[in-house]
Symmetry: C2
Subunit: 881 residues, 2 copies
């Protein structure tokens, strides 16, 4: 096709820039951009993502690529002043992956390509022998692992025994003859396991490395990572071939990682780690514990580099207007930058960074809002552990990713998955994590490791996931058979509960109690900006006065769903509703109803008083009556005793009411048709509360009464009539009455329902279940299969199914508004706060979403994003068509 | 309003005619028409149905009505030559109900109005004393029961003891002084129970009687009857006031009923019964056993009347072109006709009558087709009892309504309802039935009575319902406490099984085995006419070779649904599918699948061979896998033994697969996504069968493979691809592939599905369940409440919900045809044969309906009706809007 497939970058000649991420990958584009703005970057060139696609389409690299690579290698050789494969002045290169979205540690990289038995001698002559053979060791290990697919433990074992024999801590401390012997051993391992000698042909090394890196796009952990992070399979990775610089050259060399702000707290202060005389993979491997970068460490050891690094940090952050995560290598006192990228950070840190940057005038308010991904807010909003409580700290480590998690100890992904399937939360405890652990880390509530620093694999990945992690826990020994761990004096078995505090590094015995989170000042600031921008109302679902308090705390603009049955489930009331259901005589029934009415009224009084001038929507009883009855022998006996009935009585009622498909059974307003007295009681409790509040306290509220599970106009007519009849007893009380749209039939006859309902509220949970014929509970067993088969892109109970359920919603909105243009329409299902779904709701013209109190800020933020992007936010991929 | 409310009829002056049924009621219109054509009818006048509506709207009769009635009474007096209330020449009248649709025995009638202590003396003088006081007795009883709402047993008891005391069989045999004493006793009863004297004011008698007859429109049994027969509540009844003629005047008087053809068999021969010296109510009450009308009875007793009656029968049948049911009274040798109406008959009889009348050129073929109500065919088509088998006949009675029924004995409506709710079939056994028993009769499979003739209440009602009945069973004695009955030597307890043969009158011990019915020649004739007329294809659902045979017998034009799972449920195969589900190893699974494939293939071979040149649609596995597993301890143990697995293994698999809402669970094509090997096996079995039949027997079939429970385009793509892959192994086999549309989402994305499916088949069962959020099983508990509340007009699982489900079907058809104009679309749910729903399907443009083989003729007949009426048959009230 003649399209350009390779892009060169160096201080003097640069084909790319930061805008070309789709072509060059994130790393390649940033390397080019850094060259453009004069940052010291080793020269190199990028095979663009097109090559990756061609590779996968044709099962091989493009025919002409080999020649092209040779041409670019020639330019590189000229730049570097040495030659690839030259026995005297050998050029070595790194072959690095570089995808469009950052996938830390998921794709492969090979360093020191170009070393063989000849060039190692030339390298040794040019520098020093220890360094040269150290590099050769590293190359063989990496190449064998990535290209030849040999297990890296094969090589680690040889190194470990060499270290043991020589009684040294690290590879650096081994002498040259030992290194040579190790290289020999390594080569034998390769021969034994592959039947071939380790390749001495440097061109074969280069091409095989490139191919292997492209192949790593489809390795298992990368595929998992993309699925977890919703990254498309089609993007592919670029490959960067870059002149090697050596952090392992001597003690005036180093390798390190630095963030331009603190990735845990957001504090405006560089934060990094480095290792002297080491190569990049050492720092993320977790095998070594690096030093923090500060005045006392790098500032003393290499003051000039330290100063230059800080200047570059400032320059890159200001240039990108983003907190940067920078990889660097110091080769014999000269600083080289190997990568810069937007730094992963905790949600708390991000909010602080955004507000700080707006205050620093680095970015605008609107840009600031767009820099907060609604998906990341979750962890800030949910109940947090009460760290003030009495607790037994049994150990301490590096606070590698903030947050607190309680859970049951597991030691590997397999057991993690097993426990999570049983509904348990788990803490994954490992010596160190590697990319193979990605699935276990994804489902664990927190991670604890015996080794690794603040930028180790475990630390980086968990920060990205927003979940707590403690690394390098002192004195943590894990049993070889993974039955327990010992920490100091304490032995903790598999499945024992522990808590980890990623903010302090503390390991705590048992499960901690939880309390509501305090929201930071910066969080409140962002939410104020959000309220100025967004166009849709965000209400909360709240069933009790306590819930309402939480909803108000989280900024809900009203209550869109107050489920009255949740009032019934309370400990002291469930027996009353049981009494009602079991009642044989009218007297018993009336008596139970009167008691329930009192209780409902007292709840309503409290709730309504808190919601003056705000919307409050009360939904009448929804679940089938059998949900209130006991479901096992013991509790049947208990209830029988309590109600003074025979066990047989209760059992027979339970049997009589049990259903084959309760989801499609006798529930919602169907109960009101069979037992009108229940809805009448609820309506009376609502209206008399309004009446009393006005007369006794001069508080005026106008509740909205919502009817669940409606499928016909007549149901609505009958219940509206009930309400009118009850209202006659309460002079001039104000209320409105509306219907849930949660069954396909309701959507299809929305024009008729709109003649009687003053509002519609979509119940997208039930609507999804019935539209797709998919039970929420039962679909768990095949949901994953469906996602893997590409049938479902998302769990339809999390992200709205726009094509099906959304189509019904469109029909309902169109028909409803046609029959009643001023109809108020909202949604109160779980999708109400789903970032991907809210855009659809806004485009559909809904006036409000109502969601769990904890998710109100998320919904608001998404709504603001959509307003800013005029309906095309990157977080609202779902649009009406 | 000045509208005419009263219509006069007599030989000389007649305001109405047969066309005016809506105004005059059926009886009134026919009385007028008979006057018009010179049939001897006693003069009278009709208060039209408008009066009834006014009565219910205003809770009283119209103000001016009283005066109007007086005017008409004056005309009547002139006609009759005597005066209402005249002590010497008193005019007596009957006050009869007369609704638009015949409701035999449901509404009230009062005879002999105008009798009091004075007029009875005048009447006695004019005729004879016994007759006059007999009439007065009857009048007080009827008036007290209907107007004063006194229980008729109060009066019956007095009569019974008088009969006992005087040792006579019948009222006719009591002497005058006894009758007078009885009248005294009757009056006392009235006074004791109402605190008022029996009214002597004849105008009060008349007006109260009229009011009471109007009121009877809303009595409980009439409301039930209308609900059962789908008669609108709003129609109201007319009231006929008519000069009395007296069948109880003397022994040259009589009362009777005659059908112009045999209502049980259709034979062209008058069929009737009469009672000498009796009034009309005697013959339908069941208290007396009347004589058949034939040469040896009436022909001998009153030969002139007999001849005239036969001439009138012929005249009326030819005039109405319908078999007539005629009431008559003979007063002192003079024949009077009191009513003619279309005669109720058995479905068999109707078909014979229709075919005969077409052959007699009395009606056209098309009219003939329209005279067969599809709803009545059911009883002709279902399996019948094998009366040739060994059986123990324990008694015999009058074969009052044909057909055979087996069931468990109940003695009242309450127990009938209880047993039917438990899924039992019941035989209702009573001394005689009365309108109060209507609900019990409606749900019983058959009725047996100790008393009453061929035109008794039980006989007439059961013939209308098309269910078997035996009356006047000799020697049947029912225990007072209704615990058992004794018949000859045999004692039968409540809940014991018996069989009644309404064709022969035999009562048989136990439940009879069943066989397929033989269809009459007349039936085949009608079906030929139907096939010439109808426009939609009618296919059958058939799962086994035996089913296919039945389907062909009943005229199915193909198989629209062959459920493969039914093949798995067969006794010798269920263990194979269980083995497949339980299998741990690939080997076990493959082995079980291979066995199943062999069995499916052998079934397909047989079925396909029977369906050459016809459509055959095979649906792949649909139910969730747990349906194949045992569900109780004992059967788990059995399966464990059989499969050589531990009980724990089976139990845990059962638990693992159990679902909260199986209807919305892991079923249909979802199983194929999780376990592709199952669908692959089924597809292979189908295609290899086609291949083998062609190669081995030169039989060419092109099966249609149908995928159940599809909700997404991708599912269909994946399964179509499976089929293509499998088809590669069978050179040039022909097949097509299509999808069920049984979930709302499928309907909503029909345009996308139509890109891959060659046909759609609506599964309206599941579509109804999900569209309405209504579980078929669980809705039973509140369906009746919903019907009574007017929310559901019909059970939506019987009659299609056009407003909701129909709307989705419209969407699917429109979208599907837009994307693929040649798309074949049909329906294979239970609604496929519902007379009310088929019209909707035809108007929707479906190419076929597929239903149970037994209902194929019904569906065909409905389709013919619709074709004849150009889409507006009276049996297809549902239309697209």
């Amino acid at each position: 096709m003649g399209k350009k497939l390779i892009y060169y970058f160096s201080q003097s000649k640069c084909d790319g820039n930061a805008e070309m991420k789709n072509l060059l990958g994130s790393k390649g584009a940033n390397l080019a951009e850094m060259c453009n703005i004069g940052i010291p970057v080793p020269s190199g060139f990028t095979l663009c993502t097109q090559v990756c696609k061609m590779y996968y389409n044709n099962d091989k690299l493009p025919d002409n690529l080999c020649g092209e690579i040779k041409n670019f290698m020639a330019i590189l050789e000229e730049d570097a002043g040495c030659k690839f494969g030259d026995p005297n002045h050998p050029l070595l290169v790194s072959v690095r992956s570089g995808s469009i979205d950052s996938m830390p540690g998921m794709l492969d990289t090979i360093l020191n390509v170009g070393l063989n038995d000849e060039t190692v001698i030339g390298l040794a002559k040019k520098s020093n022998e220890r360094f040269a053979y150290d590099s050769y060791c590293r190359f063989i290990t990496m190449y064998s692992n990535v290209v030849l697919q040999l297990n890296h433990y094969l090589f680690q074992d040889i190194l470990d025994s060499a270290r043991c024999k020589n009684n040294v801590e690290s590879l650096v401390d081994l002498d040259v003859s030992t290194l040579k012997q190790i290289i020999n051993d390594f080569k034998n391992i390769v021969y034994e396991n592959t039947g071939k000698h380790f390749p001495q042909n440097i061109n074969e090394q280069l091409l095989s490395s490139i191919t292997a890196v492209f192949s790593s796009w489809k390795n298992e952990r990368a595929v998992s990572y993309r699925r977890i992070h919703n990254i498309s399979e089609d993007l592919g990775t670029a490959v960067n071939i870059q002149t090697m610089v050596f952090g392992n050259l001597n003690n005036n060399s180093a390798t390190g990682v630095i963030f331009t702000r603190n990735p845990s707290t957001g504090e405006k202060k560089c934060f990094g780690e480095f290792l002297l005389n080491a190569q990049g993979e050492d720092i993320v491997s977790g095998f070594y514990t690096p030093l923090p970068i500060n005045n006392n460490t790098m500032g003393k050891l290499m003051p000039e580099v330290y100063e230059e690094l800080y200047i570059i940090c400032k320059k890159l952050e200001e240039y990108y207007k983003e907190m940067q995560d920078i990889e660097f290598t110091v080769q014999d006192g000269k600083l080289w930058i190997l990568q810069t990228r937007s730094g992963k950070r905790t949600p708390e840190a991000n909010i602080r960074i955004v507000v700080d940057m707006v205050n620093e005038k680095m970015i605008t308010k609107n840009n600031g809002i767009l820099k907060v991904d609604p998906n990341t807010l979750n962890s800030l909003l949910h109940p947090i552990f009460d760290i003030q409580c009495d607790k037994q700290v049994i150990g301490v480590g590096l606070p590698a990713s903030p947050g607190i998690a309680s859970g049951y100890v597991v030691f590997n992904t397999y057991n993690a998955e097993k426990a999570v399937k049983q509904g348990k939360q788990v803490i994954l405890v490992r010596s160190e994590t590697s990319p193979e652990d990605i699935n276990g880390m994804n489902i664990a509530s927190g991670i604890m490791t015996a080794r690794g620093g603040m930028t180790s694999h475990a630390a980086v990945v968990t920060r990205g996931m927003g979940k707590p992690c403690i690394c390098s826990v002192n004195g943590l020994h894990i049993d070889k058979n993974e039955g327990f761990f010992v920490l100091g004096e304490v032995k903790i078995n598999k499945d024992d509960p522990i808590t980890i505090n990623g903010n302090t590094g503390e390991v705590i015995l048992g499960i901690l109690p939880t309390i509501l989170p305090e929201l930071s000042q910066e969080f409140e600031t962002i939410m104020q900006w959000v309220d100025e921008i967004k166009t849709i109302k965000v209400l909360a679902n709240a069933d009790t006065p306590k819930d309402v308090e939480i909803a108000k705390k989280f900024g809900a603009e009203g209550i869109g769903l107050c489920r009255t049955e949740h009032m019934f489930f309370a400990h002291d009331r469930i027996n009353l509703i049981q009494k009602l259901i079991i009642a044989d005589s009218q007297d018993e029934r009336v008596n139970a109803l009167e008691e329930l009415e009192k209780m409902q009224k007292s709840d309503f009084k409290e709730i309504f008083s808190m919601m003056v001038d705000k919307e409050i929507t009360v939904r009448l009883l929804d679940p089938p009556l059998h949900e209130f009855l006991p479901n096992n022998k013991q509790s049947i006996k208990k209830v029988a005793n309590l109600l003074g009935r025979s066990i047989e009585d209760i059992r027979s009622k339970v049997e009589q009411l049990s259903e084959q498909n309760p989801m499609l059974g006798h529930r919602g307003c169907r109960i009101a048709i069979s037992y009108p007295e229940i809805y009448r009681m609820q309506i009376r409790a609502i209206l008399s509360t309004v009446y009393d509040l006005r007369n006794e306290k001069n508080i005026v509220v106008k509740p909205e009464i919502m009817i669940p599970f409606v499928i016909s106009e007549k149901e609505l007519i009958l219940i509206c009539e009930m309400a009118r009849e009850e209202a006659r007893n309460f002079n001039n009380v104000q209320y409105s009455i509306g219907t849930m749209i949660e069954l396909p039939r309701a959507a299809l006859i929305a024009d008729k329902l709109a003649k009687h309902a003053e509002f519609f509220s979509f119940g997208t949970n039930d609507l999804t279940q019935t539209t797709m014929g998919l039970s929420r509970d039962d679909s768990v067993s095949f949901l994953d299969t469906y996602k893997q088969a590409g049938i479902f892109e998302n769990d339809p109970f999390v992200v709205l199914d726009v094509e099906g359920v959304g189509e019904l919603m469109k029909i309902a909105v169109t028909k409803g508004r046609k029959s009643c243009p001023e109809l108020k329409i909202g949604i109160c299902g779980e999708h109400g706060a789903d970032p991907k779904s809210i855009g659809f709701f806004i485009n559909l013209g809904l006036q409000y979403v109502s969601c769990s109190a904890y998710r109100v800020p998320i919904a608001k933020l998404v709504a603001a994003h959509i307003a800013l992007n005029q309906g095309h936010s990157k977080f609202s991929e779902l649009t009406t068509n």
